[in-house]
Amino acid sequence: MSFDERGGASVLRHSGSEGRRAASLFGFADSFGFSAAGTALSETDGADGRGLPARAVALGLVVPVALFALWWVAAEFSAIPDYLLPSPAQVVNAGIELAQAGLLGTYIAISLQRVFIGFAIGTSIGLALGALVGLSRTASLLLSSTLGAIRAVPSLAWVPLLTIYLGIYETPKITLIAIGAAFPVFTTVAGALRHVDPYLVEAGRAFGLSRGRLLTTVQLPAVVPSIVSGLRLALAQAWLFLVAAELIASSMGLGFLLTDSQNNGRMDRIYLAILLLAILGKTTDALIGLVEKALLRRWG
């Protein structure tokens, strides 16, 4: 299998010519990430703690099932060759083949691990910075424009720098994902803290809460809904930045599977990787949706 013989280095060699393609894929993943959060949000709205009505489930399934049918028909009964449009069965077989080689599980696990670690680090930093900037006017004046400028740097622009400074192993990838995950939390939390009901804050002050206790008793609970929506956006960003990181310099992971399959012309594996990213992204988003529900029941 040619797959095993390829190392991360050969991917690096291609990175120059792949920049454009990676960027366009980044853009695609962008719209994907946010729409995933969007549908799940509307689901929780509709559910309202009473469970999804059958009609909502049925309507939600209409488009995916139709797309799948269309794909199947187009692949089986049209003149489009397999190397441009593999059939669903071929994609499933590609998955089985990779799983038997012991690669599929590894790739999924390493990608998930990178997303979760980067997400955890990034959102913690985002929460801390958001609290600082949202609560202190001085900190806001001091940091806002700088953080805004850092935020404006496109994710791929960090890659060369991170690769040179931090090498090609896990650290630069997790750092990149953390950068991506930090900003949505930072922005939403800082904004929300600035708009906590001043009456409640004054009441807290009147009852003798110190700054620290005011934060934990009044301000943070008041912004829980914003924190959760920040976390949701951060998760979508984490998946985006994961693919960006893995496309450039890696020898494992779903982003690597995409690049590698492109180089080998394995359209079935490209489809497999994209489907897995969709499923994993949606599943992790749904998990955050559950956390959101629990938190909003407690703090909403």
Partner: protein, 269 residues
């Protein structure tokens, strides 16, 4: 900040309050805007004083000076002889709006009013005692959005009472309630004051409320030739509480106060 208030309120004595030439002005775009000037008032321990005046005359601003949530630009205030600290913990405030934390239950909201460092058991006892006092024992586990406006104001009152304050400051606490609930709440406040006699300063624009509750009614007003409100009149209200709302003495005082507020009372026609 002195945190002398013990966990049980019944032990806290009512404290005297003194306002010495208090003034407050705000810097506006077109220069200084004077809200209060030369407010001179001594309030005895356990006394109930009603601050009465037209809307926007600075009653709430004056209350905020006593609580230490705002500072005067001139003059000084003392509670029990010592200067009012920022957010002075010898006071407790019930605001115009209930200002309850929406994610906390009624009981947990009242808990917020306990002095820092109250031990858990004492605190829980005090909260259930207060729930009984404001007749909300049945609503302890409910969230603020599940209860009525009158109930929310009672929770706010219980929260203010939790620390057994030396000075209880009430900023139009019944202003947003319907007329009947308001009368019930006034009676409740009288009962509470009898059970736990704190010094009470009450802001209101309701003349009847002031006469039903206060030992003295302090009228705030602005003279046409000078900016800034100050005390224009102090009226002693006779009679032990609860008072007969239809008493002729009160009716005469009511007419005087309305007249002073610029409203024809049509009394004695």
């Amino acid at each position: 900040m002195s945190l002398t208030a013990p966990a049980s309120a019944t032990a806290t004595p009512a404290l005297p309050v003194s306002l010495n030439g208090v003034g407050r002005s705000f810097t506006a775009v077109d220069g200084e805007r004077i809200v209060l000037r030369d407010v001179e008032l001594r309030i005895a321990p356990g006394e109930i004083v009603a601050l009465l005046g037209p809307s926007g005359c600075g009653k709430s601003t004056l209350l905020r000076q006593i609580s230490g949530l705002d500072r005067p630009t001139s003059g000084s205030l003392t509670i029990d002889g010592s200067r009012v600290a920022p957010a002075d913990q010898r006071c407790a405030v019930a605001f115009q709006e209930p200002r309850l934390l929406p994610w906390r239950t009624v009981a947990r909201n009242i808990e917020l009013g306990l002095p820092r460092g109250t031990d858990r058991k004492r605190g829980a006892e005090r909260v259930s005692e207060l729930l009984e006092l404001v007749q909300l024992g049945h609503a302890a586990g409910q969230k603020p959005r599940e209860i009525s406006g009158g109930m929310a104001q009672r929770v706010s009152l219980a929260r203010a009472l939790a620390r057994g304050p030396g000075v209880l400051l009430l900023d139009e606490p019944f202003g947003a309630l319907d007329a009947l609930t308001r009368l019930t709440m006034q009676d409740l406040l009288i009962d509470i004051h009898r059970a736990e006699p704190a010094t009470i300063v009450l802001v209101t624009h309701d003349v009847d409320e002031a006469l039903a509750l206060a030992d003295r009614v302090v009228l705030l007003g602005t003279r046409f030739d000078r900016p800034g409100a100050t005390i224009s009149r102090i009226i002693d209200v006779p009679g032990a509480r609860p008072r007969d709302r239809a008493s002729t003495v009160l009716a005469r005082l009511r007419a005087q106060l309305l007249e002073a507020l610029g409203v024809p009372s049509h009394h004695g026609r």
